[in-house]
């Protein structure tokens, strides 16, 4: 592997890893803030208990999202310095704004939420978590502005004197059509993740609580275990509702996104299906394919007629351009231009990667939404799943597995988006291989890749263990807060 391959692998590894934690942060911050607000409004113990309980899980996750985010900010310059020089005039701005407008907000107000309970007035305390959530949304907006430019560059011109792309219209950058559909799609997918975490943990705890006191659901007269069951059942339902509603909205926003993608990056849509020959209408979409995806050999696939046309154009009879036609046109436009920045041998992404990541994204997302539907149905009107029997263990395992479905759905979505952009770094402007740092030898890239991979691997184990023990410990009772005016009172929260 040369420095280009290594830098690409490193980017893939650290970015996919970082984005395991980001959607949890976005989604869960909103739900924790919501429970915290419910506590302020109604002073029911269970709201504060749920806010603290899911807050603990949130913090374990946030810590890893934060530290892996620092790597992201640095690695454009470290591994992709020629890219940084070429687009810095445009791409640097949203990154700087993200740090200034969002990272400060998130980190400062999270400190206030964690350490400020009992020190800040209740309403203000709840508001700090909303500030964190707003910070996560701003962060998503600006980083997606940067990414959308790479998918579909707007608001710029190429300056032949300086040899770089330069910003001409900041507003156009912020309202890039790709950005306007990617932002809701990404944020909604993150709400699915937050919902699924609360749902899965809620169901698992509910079964535990019910083992202690089966089939008693009256929270006012029951024992501690039954009121716990009431609380966790509510958590499971809140999580399931969020997952389901967000899931439906993800599907709608994804559909709109597909049409815009077909307009601005037709190769990505063709590669999502592995459609080699252009279709004049009624292009089918395959649910799965056995065999090669190189367009040459015979294969077995299960297809839905007209679905690809529908996804790409909104009509089952819409024409869809195929890989071969697009490849020929890119070769004529870019290959023949003599510009080394846009020269490539093929202009085609790695089809098995785009094909399968696209399907897996949709598949695991739908499965998560379906799971949410089952949870809502099973818990309707005060019902709960039985805590004993063979079914119960299926429930337990499903509860633990379900948060991972939308998390991986997010991963597959980004793998599709980024792999489907290849060989471009910035579509039509710069190929990936021309963006790496010329002064960094391959062994250094390899060193950092090995270091990050090993470190991240260990940290994943540490994080999972901490989350599991937090879930096993369950929600703690609401403690009395120390007197706010007493300087010598014990700290309400301490490391």
């Amino acid at each position: 592997m040369d420095a280009v391959d290594l830098a690409r692998w490193q980017f893939a590894i650290v970015t996919v890893y970082h984005f395991l934690f980001v959607p949890v942060t976005i989604g869960l911050s909103a739900i924790v803030a919501w429970f915290q607000t419910q506590w302020v409004r109604k002073h029911r113990d269970e709201d504060q208990r749920l806010a603290s309980f899911f807050g603990r899980i949130f913090l374990i996750n946030f810590a890893l999202g934060l530290v892996t985010g620092i790597v992201q900010e640095f690695q454009f310059g470290m591994n992709w310095s020629d890219y940084s020089r070429f687009v810095g005039d445009i791409f640097g701005a949203p990154l700087a704004i993200e740090a200034l407008a969002s990272f400060f907000l998130e980190s400062t107000f999270l400190g206030l939420w964690v350490f400020g309970r009992g020190r800040l007035p209740e309403k203000l305390h709840a508001a700090t978590m909303w500030a964190v959530h707003i910070g996560t949304l701003l962060s998503a907006y600006f980083i997606l502005t940067a990414n959308s430019f790479m998918q579909h560059p707007v608001g710029f011109r190429f300056n032949p004197t300086t040899g770089r792309a330069e910003m001409t219209d900041f507003l156009a950058l912020l309202t890039n059509p790709v950005q306007l559909v990617t932002f809701p799609h990404t944020v909604l997918a993150s709400y699915m993740v937050g919902g699924a975490v609360v749902m899965g943990v809620g169901v698992w705890r509910l079964l535990q609580a019910k083992k202690g006191a089966p089939d008693v659901l009256d929270a006012t007269t029951g024992s501690a275990a039954t009121s716990d069951a009431h609380m966790y059942r509510r958590a499971a339902r809140v999580g399931a509702l969020v997952t389901l509603v967000a899931g439906l909205a993800v599907a709608v926003s994804g559909d709109v996104q597909g049409k815009i993608m077909t307009e601005v990056q037709p190769m990505k849509m063709a590669s999502a299906e592995g459609l080699y020959e252009s279709s004049t209408g009624g292009a089918p979409f395959s649910l799965l394919t056995v065999g090669s995806l190189d367009g040459q050999s015979e294969k077995f696939s299960v297809t839905v007629p007209g679905l690809l046309s529908f996804l790409a154009t909104g009509s089952v009879n819409g024409p869809v351009k195929g890989i071969n036609e697009l490849k020929a046109s890119y070769q004529a436009t870019y290959g023949a231009s003599g510009n080394p920045l846009v020269a490539d041998s093929a202009y085609v992404p790695t089809i098995p990667v785009t094909y399968w990541s696209f399907r897996l994204m949709i598949g695991v997302g739908m499965l998560a939404a379906l799971g949410a539907l089952v949870v809502l149905w099973t818990t309707r009107g005060g019902r709960t799943p039985s805590p004993s029997g063979r079914r119960a263990s299926v429930w337990r395992w499903s509860a633990l597995a379900i948060p991972f479905l939308p998390v991986f759905g997010n991963s597959f979505g980004w793998i599709f988006t980024e792999a489907g952009r290849q060989p471009w770094l910035v579509f039509g402007l710069m190929s990936t291989k021309t963006g790496v740092s010329p002064s960094v030898p391959a062994w250094q890239v390899l060193t950092s890749m090995v270091v990050f991979t090993l470190l991240y691997g260990v940290l994943a184990v540490v994080e999972m263990r901490l989350v599991i023990s937090a879930v096993k410990a369950g929600a703690t009772p609401v403690e009395d807060l120390p007197d706010r005016d007493d300087d010598n009172a014990p700290l309400a929260y301490a490391y």
Binding site: I60, A63, L64, L66, V67, I70, V71, E73, F74, F76, G77, M78, S81, D82, S84, R85, G88, D89, I90, F91, G92, A93, L95, A96, I97, A99, L100, A101, F103, F104, L105, S107, T108, F109, L110, G111, L112, F115, R164, E166, M167, T168, F170, S437, P438, S439, V440, S448, V451, L455, L459, V462, L466, S469, D487, N488, P490, L491, A494, Y495
Partner: protein, 337 residues
Amino acid sequence: MELTTVWFILIAVLWTGYLTLEGFDFGVGMLLPVLGRGTDTADTERRHRLLLNTIGPVWDGNEVWVLTAGGATFAAFPNWYATLFSGFYLPLLLILVALIVRNLGFEYRHKRDDLSWKRRWDAAIIVGSALPALLWGVALTNIVHGVPIDASREYTGNLFTLLNPVGLLGGLTFVAVFLTHGALFVALKTDGPIRAEARAIATRTGVVAAVLALALLGTLGAERGGALSWVASGVAALALIGGLVANLRAREGWAFIGTFVAIAGTVAAFFLLLFPDVMPSSLDPAWSLTVTNASSTAYTLRVMTIVAAIFTPLVVAYQSWSYWVFRRRITVAQIPA
């Protein structure tokens, strides 16, 4: 004023924010084994927790200053960002790893009631605070001192190029100054025996810091100094010495302001030494990166100036407020079980 100059100053401000704030939490991290040492295991644990809780609510916000400095450099001076980050590859890798384990140490240390778990994260916090303190000093000093940059704006040295005597002097100075700054922060934020111990430590590390800082600012000043940079260096030196005197008189607030101003003055001196270069080339001055040849377009700088004018005062306001919320001194007696 030229927009490139405005952004040069803004980036100096961001580094000032970073080093004055994270400087003390690096110091507190490095002082864990010293100020955290108690009479027995239980006492040691209480002291460790006290120290970590002095910076608990604020360290994360402090660290964002460096992310913003990095992002702002990318936006305003892409060539500076590209040359610096690709050139200083291995030190930055070490800094990243150090910050990762340190930050997780803060967040994960208290998650398990297990002494060996806590000791491991303590080590992560100590090393993760000392290494970036040292390496930021080495890196920033080398930027001012000049590093080999060729005609195509690429760094041609390696890790050992940066570990020259002046660079190492810079690294050690940062460590000593941050130790002092951190000790004074502990003296300001705690009460009980640890408060007086922190002052005593600050006096000892402060003398070393003063000697190193004078040597560093003198060396760099002799290389490239102008009237303004000498003034800034003078302010830094006087503030540091003033802070140490205040500390001897147990005036902790003034002492902390002293090290705070000393760090700010040092950053100001560094940037004044640089201007109008941002990364001078030691090979040929014609190959140096300057505020002009490294900068973004006037349009981008205008956009970013508006954004910075809106958000920077906001950030300063709410971050200051969070310091106000957590202004009380804390004692070991207040650490919950």
